[in-house]
């Protein structure tokens, strides 16, 4: 049962990645694209956790922690750049 659930969830997040990529490729404001990247980071976190679950191992967990902790730093940096032009003032 859990195997099916994991596969279903992985497929969903995978489709999420592709949809975000679609946003990237389409014309839109830079803000949209930064948001798409941020969402991709979230999807990637989910995929890694699911992959770890399906293999019954915790080694991928640290990578997940670090992405979760720092994924937003890039987003913030992009956003600051768009707003202020300078990311360290």
């Amino acid at each position: 049962m859990i195997a099916i659930a994991i596969q279903f969830a992985s497929a969903c997040f995978g489709i999420g990645l592709l949809l975000n990529l679609w946003v990237m490729a389409r014309t839109g404001t830079p803000g949209d694209k930064v948001l798409a990247l941020d969402t991709m980071v979230i999807n990637a976190i989910a995929l890694m956790v699911l992959y770890g679950l399906s293999h019954g191992t915790a080694v991928y967990f640290e990578a997940v922690i670090i992405i979760a902790m720092f994924g937003f730093v890039s987003t913030v940096a992009y956003a600051r750049f768009k707003l202020r032009g300078n990311i360290i003032e």
Binding site: V41, A44, V73, R80
Partner: protein, 954 residues
């Protein structure tokens, strides 16, 4: 004293004069003198054994796999040369102390001199030809520094360049010759090579090896047609000329010919090449010397001539000639050094070296006159001085030399050369000192103080004593030295005397002296004829040649390296593709022997994302910001792929590097145009597209071909997996490779990383100290600014996260040895934790609270890593041998300790410091002090009250 110490003392001691110059010029000179004296005494402690006929050796296997061993040996020849180098070096140090003026950087001078001295001593003591070659190149380099010591003079710089180019390219040829010899014999040890005369001379490669080695010797010893660099090297300060051209640099070529004499000499090729070159050089040098008006130029060409004489003697290939050559090396060193020093004295007080402006100095400089008289008469070959003895030996040897069937040709030419050398020696005495006292000297000629005359007087004393008692003073030395040159184990009989009876050599001497005197009388009338005669000017030819090569290489390098990255990349790709196509067409490749994996949905999605993002980068590359966002996507997918392919370490690294890179690029983008302008033509775009598609297909095809097949030989991964725990004490193989298997690499890399960061800092400092600073401060933002510089949410979030992030860094660090993580990743995480504060709270706020300089963090990281590595020395193990064990500290469970963790701490600190220093430096460009509130987002009513209070009072 050990030979190692003798050879390394000048190098070790070279630091002292440079440091002690702060304590004055006397201290600097004294330290150089003490170093040389110590080495000389060390050499003399070995002298009794050598004079008994023993050979002193010191051996260390340095890189035995390459045949490169740090072996030194001291035989008679080595003793003679090392004695000359160190002994005359001591006199030069004394002389230079009083010769150089206050304006000259004396500390630098002595440092260069000691480096040069060390290189020379290294040449004459080396027992390994590879080691000898290293010292040989070192003499070229250090003599370049010495000749060009007066950097402000164009002649000095040009002379130094010429000397470096000529002797350096000769050295290059010699490397080839020596490698051939080493290959023939199968050993690079000189003592072994010297025992294989038949083997070497029978080899078909004997002639190429001989030519290459002689090219090195002839360029170094200024033999025709390479003699032209020596007179130009006279632009150096006189002590340098005296040292380089009497006892050391130019004698290195002679030394090597003498050293290789036992195995190379005795063939027709040797005789015709070496003896002929020597003879031509001797005659030509002597003729030119007579017509030079500059005292130092006269001495320079006379040196060329005398070196030719010695080369010719070595070229004869007979034992008696070799003995005469050794004897003349000693004599030439004594009188020529004294003559150079006296030329310096005259230049110093008369302020000119032009013979035409001198004359009659005997009345003003009696002491200098005495020195010159003795030394020049010795150079002319007048009894009872030492030059007479060796010159007569030389003339006697020429009588037995047969050149292409003509028995007296060599002798006649030798007399002709000797005649000219008598003339130029007499000219030095006659035209400079004799005659009427003049009133138009540029300076006020006078005898110098003892500092300047002590050294030449000592040398002229030697000239006289060796002339009168040759057998007692230098007999034993000449015997062992020529024994070493000849190298057949038979004792050499050396017996020199002033009076041999009426032998042919005496008549030849008399002809030379009388003829030389007559020639001198005619010199003033001959000089205009000589000047009018057309002859090739070496410097012009040399400059034209060098200029031609320079413009050729400039054209080549400007075609390949025009500063545009796209051109380098294009050339690189075309070349690689061509190589790959060649390899594919000619090499053999087996059928794929690995099974393909099943295609599942996840990799397909990843692949679509990766290629999709890449295509988007190409499509949107003109918008640089968008390109950066898309690169973020690529990085993210790659991290996912690393994870999927079971490389969590790489995923961790990828994620942290990604964040730092994006911040770095955004910092830079702040100062750059936000859009890339359209510049390329359609044709160019088409070409570039073809190239990049070719490169992509090539790389993809290569990977596809590689992954489908097993390795053709066992991969090193097996070794790493097997030994990771047993040898390195860690179960995380990636980390054990970093800190243990390849610890030395990592050590080098953290140093490079630190250097790179410090260079970024230094460039920032330099830019901000220039007038660019003003433009940066007054810069108008090129896009509209919105929002708050320090948003409340962000400040709070980053401050709350800081301790958590640091804890994660600590966690990743500590578990790194056994699970994914380690110092490198932990360092990046900590750096991101800190840089978040810079981004949220501003540069000023963060920098104020950063109390430890990043330089210090980098330095301590490198030091900790180094000390950890050195720790293994105390256990008698090589650098960076790691060790581990288990301890239990109550109330914790049993845990493992490993020295590798300490090394990893060094990596952590170096990475943290380097990343932060680089980011902080870049951030400083945009920082506009005072634009910012001093307390971003810090609500402190007490301070606000105080501020308001201050305002009200004002």
């Amino acid at each position: 004293m050990s030979l190692f110490l003798i050879a390394s003392l000048p190098f070790l001691g070279a630091i002292f004069p440079a440091l002690l110059i702060r304590a004055g010029r006397n201290a600097s000179a004294a330290s150089a003198g003490m170093v040389t004296l110590t080495a000389l005494i060390g050499l003399l402690t070995n002298a009794p054994a050598v004079l008994r006929g023993e050979v002193v050796v010191a051996r260390i296997d340095w890189m035995p796999g390459l045949g490169l061993n740090a072996n030194f040996f001291l035989d008679g020849l080595g003793l003679l040369f090392a004695g000359l180098i160190l002994g005359i070096g001591l006199l030069i140090i004394l002389y230079a102390r009083f010769y150089l003026s206050r304006k000259d950087p004396m500390g630098q001078f002595y440092t260069y001199l000691l480096l040069f001295q060390g290189a020379m001593v290294g040449i004459v003591l080396s027992d390994n030809i590879l080691l000898l070659l290293i010292f040989w190149e070192l003499t070229s380099l250090s003599s370049f520094l010495l000749i060009g010591f007066w950097k402000h003079l164009p002649e000095g710089r040009q002379g130094a360049r010429m000397a470096l180019l000529v002797t350096g390219s000769g050295g290059l040829a010699m490397i080839g010759g020596m490698l051939i010899i080493g290959n023939i014999v199968g050993s690079y040890d000189l003592t072994v090579i010297l025992q294989h005369k038949e083997l070497i001379q029978a080899s078909p490669l004997y002639l190429p090896a001989l030519l290459l080695i002689l090219a090195g010797c002839f360029t170094k010893s200024a033999q025709f047609p390479f003699h032209f660099w020596l007179p130009h090297a006279m632009a150096a300060p006189t002590p340098v000329s005296a040292y380089l051209h009497s006892a050391t640099m130019v004698k290195a070529g002679l030394f090597l010919m003498a050293r290789m004499w036992p195995v190379l000499a005795g063939t027709d090729a040797w005789f015709y090449i070496v003896a002929t070159t020597g003879l031509v050089t001797m005659v030509l040098g002597a003729v030119i010397a007579l017509f030079k008006d500059d005292l130092k130029a006269l001495l320079a060409y006379s040196t060329v001539s005398q070196l030719g004489l010695i080369t010719m003697l070595l070229g004869f290939g007979t034992k008696a000639a070799a003995t005469a050559a050794v004897f003349h090396i000693i004599n030439h060193a004594t009188f020529k050094c004294a003559l150079f020093m006296s030329a310096g004295i005259i230049d110093h007080s008369a302020h000119t070296r032009d013979i035409k402006r001198l004359g009659g100095l005997i009345h003003l400089m009696p002491l200098t006159f005495t020195i010159v008289l003795v030394a020049a008469l010795s150079m002319a070959g007048i009894p009872p001085f030492n030059g007479f003895l060796s010159k007569e030996m030389m003339l006697e040897e020429t009588l037995s030399a047969v050149w292409q069937g003509s028995p007296y040709l060599v002798a006649a030419l030798a007399v002709f050369g000797a005649l000219f050398s008598v003339a130029y020696s007499f000219r030095y005495i006659g035209h400079v000192f004799l005659g009427k006292r003049r009133s138009d000297y540029p300076g006020e000629p006078h005898d110098p103080g003892p500092g300047l005359w002590l050294a030449p007087v000592f040398l002229t004393f030697l000239v006289v004593v060796i002339g009168l008692f040759p057998n007692a003073v230098v007999g034993p030395l000449v015997q062992v030295a020529s024994g070493a040159v000849i190298g057949d184990g038979q004792p050499v009989v050396f017996y020199a005397k002033l009076w041999h009876g009426f032998i042919p050599a005496l008549y030849m001497s008399v002809v030379a002296v009388v003829g030389g005197f007559v020639l001198l009388l005619m010199q003033r009338r001959l000089a205009p004829l000589w000047d009018a005669a057309p002859r090739p000017e070496a410097k012009v030819i040399f400059d034209a040649l060098v200029g031609g090569f320079t413009s050729l290489s400039r054209r080549l390098s400007e075609a390949l390296h025009d500063g545009a990255l796209s051109r380098y990349a294009a050339i690189f790709m075309v070349f690689t593709l061509a190589l790959a196509a060649y390899a594919y067409g000619t090499g053999a490749k087996g059928a794929p022997n690995r099974e393909m994996l099943d295609l599942t949905i996840m990799p397909v999605i990843g692949w679509i994302c990766l290629t999709g993002a890449t295509v988007c980068v190409v499509a949107f590359h003109r918008n640089r910001f968008l390109a950066l966002v898309l690169i973020g996507v690529v990085g993210l997918i790659i991290a996912l792929a690393f994870n999927y392919l079971s490389a969590p370490d790489l995923a961790l690294t990828q994620i942290s590097v990604e964040v730092v890179t994006i911040i770095l690029l955004l910092l830079a983008l702040n100062f750059m145009p936000k859009n890339t302008p359209q510049e390329s033509s359609t044709g160019r775009k088409l070409r570039d597209a073809t190239l990049s598609i070719g490169a992509g297909l090539g790389a993809g095809g290569l990977i596809y071909a590689l992954m489908g097949r097993e390795f053709s030989q066992p991969s090193i991964s097996e070794f790493h997996l097997e030994n990771s725990y047993s040898g390195g004490g860690g179960t995380n193989v990636v980390n054990v490779i970093l800190v243990d298997f390849r610890g030395f690499d990592t050590f080098g890399e953290i140093i490079v990383l630190g250097i790179a960061a410090i260079v970024i800092f230094a460039i920032t400092e330099a830019v901000l100290a220039s007038n660019v600073r003003g433009r940066l401060l007054n810069r108008e933002p090129d896009m509209a600014q919105a929002g708050n510089p320090h948003p409340l949410m962000m400040v709070v979030a980053t401050r709350v996260m800081m301790p958590i992030a640091l804890m994660v860094a600590a966690y990743i660090f500590f578990r790194g040895h056994n699970a994914p993580g380690g110092g490198f990743i932990a360092g990046l995480i900590a750096a991101i934790a800190v840089v978040m504060q810079y981004m949220a709270s501003g540069y000023e706020w963060a920098a104020d609270r950063q109390r430890v300089y990043y330089h210090g963090i980098i330095g301590s990281g490198v030091l900790i890593a180094a000390l950890t590595g050195m720790g293994s020395w105390f256990a008698g193990l090589p650098f960076l041998t790691s060790s581990f064990g288990y301890i239990t500290i109550w109330p914790l469970e049993k845990f493992e300790w490993a020295t590798a963790a300490l090394f990893d701490l060094g990596v952590f600190l170096a990475v943290l410091g380097a990343v932060m220093l680089a980011l902080e430096s870049l951030a400083r460009f945009a920082w506009q002090p005072g634009m910012d509130s001093e307390h971003p987002m810090e609500i402190n009513p007490a301070r606000d009250d105080a501020d308001n209070h201050e305002k009200q009072e004002a």
